[in-house]
C-alpha cells in the first residue's frame, strides 16, 4: 500500500515563491546551482506579487518574475510542505502536491515562507463577509470581484493603502477606511519616509484612488453584526462609537512571520522570527531564511535578503557591501513601521467571553481564561486542535494572553494519510510482516528482528 512519491534532487530547495524565494532562486540558479522552488500557490509571486492574468504589477515585480521565468530554477506549484528533516548531506522535504507526495532532497535550503495576517478577535469577526486586508487583496487577485459591495476597511498597517486602492479600482463602494494607529503615529511614519521618495509617491497614488473615502486614524472596529452574513460594523475612535452598514469588512493588524518550518527544523527563533546571520544563515548550517519570516519588512527587504541568501548558497565569497547596506537601511525602515503601527491596548480587550477565538474548534474567549499556557488551553478546550494548527488563534492569543506558541510537529499542514505514509525510499524496511499476521507471537518477533 505504499504510495510512490515524486522524487527530486537538487543543490538548493527554496520554500516559497514570494519576493524572497524568487530572488534567492534566481540568484542561485543564474550562478549554476540546481534549484527547486516549492510553492503553495498556483502561480509564483507569493502574496504581494499576486496578479490576475494581464494585470499590471510594479516594475520590480515584473523584473523578478521575468528573470525567474527565464532562469533554470524549477518551480513546483500547488505544493504544501508537510515535513522537513535534516539529513547527513542536506535536507529532505516532503510536500503534498494535489494529494500526492512530493519528496525533495537538497544540499541547501532557503526558507522563504513569508508571513500571514494578525487577526484579533472581536464580537462578530467570524461572520461571512469579514475577511483579512491581505485576504481581500488575495481574493481579489485570484478572481473575486467586490464591485458594488459596501466595504469597510478597519485594521492597521501600510497594507491598507494598496488594498483600499485595489478595491476601489475594482468597483467596491469603500465606505470608510479606519487605521487603529493614531494620527500622530501615522504622520510620523509618513514623515519618516522622506528617505524613500518613491514610497511616498506610491502612497500618494494609492490614496488618490480612494480619495472619496475618509481615511480615519485612531479608529478601530469593535464589533461586526449580522446573522449568516455581515450587515454592519461598529467603529470607535475612543470617544464615540457609530455603526456603518457594510457587506464586507476587511480587518487585520499587520503581519506575523510564518515560521512553522523553521521551528520544525529547530532553528533558533527570536521574538517570533527566524534568527539569521549576515549571510542569511539560520542557526542550522546550510539552512537559510530570507524575507518576512526573518522579520516583517516588506517586499524590498525580502528581495535583498533573498539575493543575499542566493549568493551565499552559490559561493563562499563576500556579499557585496551595497546589498548589506541596503538591507540595514530597510531593517531600520521596518523598525519604524512596527513602532508606528503597533496594535493599541484597546484591541486586546475587544473580545467578550463568548467571542470565538479558535475558529476551527469554536472555542470562546471565556473558556480560555483558566489556562496558563497554550498547550494547557489546547488540551482542555481544543483551541488550536483544528486544521489551521493554531495559525490564526495562536498569534492572537500571544498578544491577548502572552502565551508563546506550542511546539510544532509534522505534518505542518493537514495532508492526506497517503502522503503521510509515502514510501521512504532511503532503504525503508521491507513491507511489514504484519501483513502475514497469522501467529501473532512469531510474526512480531520476526518483525522485531527485521526492524532497523
Amino acid at each position: 500500500m505504499m504510495t510512490d512519491a515524486d522524487h527530486v534532487r537538487a543543490g538548493l530547495v527554496v520554500i516559497g515563491a514570494g519576493p524572497a524565494g524568487i530572488a534567492a532562486a534566481v540568484v542561485a540558479a543564474e550562478r549554476g546551482v540546481r534549484t527547486i522552488v516549492i510553492d503553495r500557490g498556483l502561480e509564483p509571486g507569493g502574496q504581494i506579487w499576486r496578479h490576475r492574468a494581464g494585470a499590471k504589477l510594479p516594475a520590480t515585480a515584473m523584473h523578478w518574475l521575468a528573470r525567474f521565468g527565464h532562469c533554470d530554477a524549477e518551480l513546483l506549484s500547488g505544493a504544501s510542505v508537510v515535513d522537513a528533516r535534516r539529513a547527513a548531506d542536506g535536507v529532505d522535504i516532503v510536500a503534498d502536491r494535489g494529494g500526492r507526495p512530493l519528496r525533495v532532497h537538497a544540499r541547501d535550503l532557503v526558507l522563504a515562507c513569508g508571513a500571514r495576517e494578525l487577526f484579533l478577535p472581536f464580537p462578530g469577526w467570524t461572520l461571512p463577509g469579514v475577511v483579512g486586508i491581505g485576504g481581500a487583496q488575495a481574493l481579489l487577485k485570484s478572481g473575486a470581484s467586490f464591485a458594488g459591495q459596501r466595504v469597510v476597511i478597519a485594521g492597521s498597517g501600510p497594507l491598507i493603502l494598496p488594498v483600499a486602492a485595489s478595491l476601489s479600482h475594482d468597483g467596491a463602494r469603500l465606505v470608510t477606511v479606519a487605521e487603529q494607529a493614531s494620527g500622530a503615529a501615522v504622520a510620523r511614519f509618513g514623515a519618516g519616509l522622506w528617505r524613500s521618495p518613491a514610497l511616498v509617491a506610491q502612497a500618494v497614488r494609492y490614496r488618490a484612488r480612494f480619495a472619496a473615502t475618509r481615511y480615519r486614524t485612531g479608529t478601530w472596529v469593535t464589533a461586526a453584526h449580522g446573522t449568516e452574513r455581515l450587515t454592519h460594523v461598529t467603529l470607535t475612535d475612543g470617544s464615540r462609537a457609530w455603526d456603518e452598514a457594510a457587506d464586507v469588512l476587511c480587518t487585520g493588524y499587520g503581519l506575523v512571520p510564518s515560521t512553522e518550518l523553521a521551528r520544525l527544523l529547530g532553528c533558533t527563533m527570536e521574538r517570533g522570527a527566524v534568527v539569521v546571520d549576515a549571510r542569511q544563515v539560520t542557526s542550522i548550517p546550510r539552512v537559510y531564511a530570507a524575507g518576512e519570516s526573518t522579520g516583517i519588512g516588506g517586499a524590498p527587504l525580502s528581495i535583498v535578503e533573498g539575493m543575499i541568501a542566493g549568493l551565499a548558497v552559490a559561493s563562499p565569497g563576500a556579499i557585496p557591501a551595497s546589498l548589506t547596506r541596503r538591507r540595514s537601511a530597510l531593517h531600520r525602515a521596518a523598525t519604524r513601521m512596527h513602532q508606528a503601527f503597533a496594535p493599541r491596548q484597546e484591541l486586546r480587550t475587544l473580545a467578550a467571553h463568548d467571542t470565538i477565538v479558535c475558529r476551527c474548534e469554536d472555542v470562546r474567549f471565556g473558556a480560555l481564561l483558566t489556562a496558563s499556557c497554550a498547550r494547557q488551553a489546547k488540551l482542555h478546550t481544543r483551541a488550536g486542535m483544528g486544521p489551521c494548527q493554531g495559525r490564526i488563534c495562536g498569534p492572537a492569543l500571544e498578544l491577548l494572553r502572552g502565551w508563546s506558541v506550542d511546539t510544532v510537529r509534522s505534518p505542518i499542514e493537514p495532508t492526506s494519510i497517503s502522503v503521510l505514509c509515502a514510501d521512504d525510499s532511503d532503504g525503508a524496511s521491507a513491507s511489514d510482516s504484519a501483513s502475514t499476521g497469522a501467529d501473532t507471537g512469531s510474526s512480531f518477533s520476526s518483525l522485531a528482528a527485521g526492524a532497523r
Binding site: G99, C373, A434, A451
Partner: protein
C-alpha cells in the same frame, strides 16, 4: 464544566494532609478521588498541569484486555466503574460507548477470537462474534476478505485530559487540594520534599507514571513511546473502536519496535489512528519510519483512509513494566509510600479500578479484586531471583 477554578483549590488548606498524591494524571486523579470520597484529606502535587502528561497523549480507550488473568480482572473491574460513573460526568469528557471490534484476518485469528469470546464470557464480559457479512455491515470501511470480529459492546472511548479534570473536581469537592506547577524533589518517610519545604503526611502515593522512577528509583518502569495520528472530521466513517488481534502481541513484547492497527472514532467525528510501540528513551520526536508503518497497517485494514485528511501527529510515553501489570500497593522499603504507576497502554481503562484498589489498600478495606498480582513487592522478588 470540568476545569473551572474550583477544581484547583480545595476547601481545606490547614493541617497536614492524610495523603499526598504525586502526579495529577488520570491515575493520580482517580486515586485522589477515591481517597477523598472515602474521607481522607488529600493533597495532589503536579509538576506541570493536570492531565498534561501521558494522559494527554493516549487514545483514551476503555477496553477490556486479556493478556493475563490479572489484566482481565483489573480492566473488567475498572471498566464497570467507568460505565457507572460516565453518565454523571460532563459531556466534554466525550464518552463514546462505541464498543470494540477485535478484527480477525484469517481462520487462525478467528480461532483466537473464539477463545477470547470464552475467556471474556468466563469473566462476565458480554461479547459477540461477527461473521464477515455482519462485520462488513458494522464497519463498511473495513476491507473485504476479513474473517470476522469479536464485538465488545461495553468498551468505549473518552477524552482523558477532561476526564482527569472531572475526577479532580470531584476530589476537590470532597476536600482535596490540587497544586500545579509543583515539582517534588524527594519522597521521605511519610513526607515529601518540595523546594526546601517538608510536607508531612500519613501516606504518599507515587502516581507519577513514566516519571515514577525519578522519585522511587527501584521502580522498574521504562517509557514506551507511541505515535498517534488524528484526522479531520469524518463522522460515520468508523463506528466502533477497531483493533487487530496483533495489538496484544505488540503490547506484550518488550523488544524493539512494533505497530498494530487500532483506529478509534472520537466524539468530534475525528478518527484517531494508532498504534506503535518502541523503546526510544524520552525522545519525543516523530519517527517517520514508524508513522509510515503504522499508517500502512491502518491502510491494510481501511483502504479509504488514504484520502482522509490528517491534521496532527504526536508521541507519548507509556509507563511500561516488565510483566505488563501496573504497580498498585505498598512500597515496603519506605514506610508510608504507595505506588500507583506502570499502566502501559491501559492507564485510562484501569484508572478508576486503580484508584479504588489503592484507596482500599491504604484505608485497609477489602479490595474488590485480588491485589496480589499488582503488588509492588513482586519487583523485589524478581530482582532477587536474578
Amino acid at each position: 464544566m470540568a476545569g473551572q477554578a474550583s477544581a484547583r483549590n480545595g476547601t481545606r488548606t490547614t493541617g497536614a494532609p492524610d495523603v499526598v498524591v504525586i502526579g495529577a494524571g488520570i491515575v493520580g486523579a482517580a486515586c485522589a478521588d477515591a481517597l477523598s470520597r472515602a474521607g481522607a484529606r488529600v493533597l495532589v502535587l503536579e509538576r506541570d498541569f493536570a492531565g498534561g502528561g501521558t494522559t494527554a497523549a493516549g487514545m483514551g480507550h476503555l477496553v477490556v484486555m486479556d493478556d493475563s488473568p490479572a489484566q482481565l480482572a483489573l480492566t473488567t473491574y475498572s471498566e464497570r466503574l467507568w460505565n457507572a460513573l460516565l453518565p454523571e460526568l460532563p459531556t466534554n469528557v466525550e464518552h463514546e460507548a462505541c464498543g470494540t471490534l477485535w478484527v480477525a484476518e484469517d481462520e487462525a485469528q478467528l480461532d483466537a477470537i473464539r477463545a477470547k469470546h470464552r475467556v471474556y464470557a468466563d469473566a462476565g464480559v458480554a461479547t459477540e462474534i461477527l461473521d464477515p457479512m455482519q462485520l462488513a455491515s458494522a464497519e463498511p470501511q473495513l476491507r473485504p476478505g476479513l474473517a470476522g470480529a469479536l464485538r465488545v459492546p461495553e468498551d468505549g472511548v473518552i477524552y482523558p485530559p477532561v476526564a482527569t479534570l472531572a475526577l479532580l473536581e470531584r476530589a476537590c469537592t470532597a476536600g482535596a487540594e490540587l497544586r500545579e506547577g509543583v515539582r517534588v524533589d524527594a519522597i521521605g518517610e511519610r513526607e515529601v520534599h518540595v523546594g526546601g519545604e517538608r510536607i508531612v503526611c500519613d501516606a504518599v502515593v507515587n502516581a507519577a507514571g513514566a516519571a515514577a522512577p525519578a522519585l522511587t528509583p527501584e521502580i522498574p518502569i521504562v517509557p514506551r513511546k507511541g505515535h498517534l495520528v488524528i484526522t479531520d472530521r469524518y463522522p460515520g466513517f468508523c463506528r466502533h473502536q477497531l483493533v487487530e488481534l496483533g495489538y496484544l502481541a505488540s503490547a506484550h513484547t518488550m523488544t524493539s519496535e512494533s505497530v498494530a492497527f487500532n483506529v478509534q472514532p472520537r466524539a468530534t467525528g475525528q478518527l484517531l489512528i494508532g498504534s506503535s510501540r518502541e523503546l526510544a528513551g524520552w525522545d519525543p520526536a516523530i519517527n517517520p519510519t514508524i508513522v509510515h508503518r503504522m499508517l500502512d497497517r491502518a491502510l491494510d485494514f481501511m483502504p479509504a483512509l488514504a484520502r482522509v485528511s490528517a491534521i496532527r501527529t504526536w508521541t507519548g510515553f507509556r509507563p511500561a513494566t516488565p510483566d505488563k501489570l501496573p504497580l498498585i500497593g505498598a512500597w515496603e522499603e519506605t514506610p508510608g509510600l504507595w505506588i500507583a504507576a506502570g499502566h502501559e497502554g491501559l492507564g485510562i481503562t484501569t484508572a478508576l479500578g486503580t484508584g479504588q484498589l489503592l484507596a482500599d489498600l491504604v484505608l485497609e478495606r477489602t479490595p474488590a479484586i485480588d491485589p496480589a498480582p499488582f503488588a509492588p513487592s513482586r519487583v523485589h522478588a524478581t530482582a532477587a531471583a536474578h
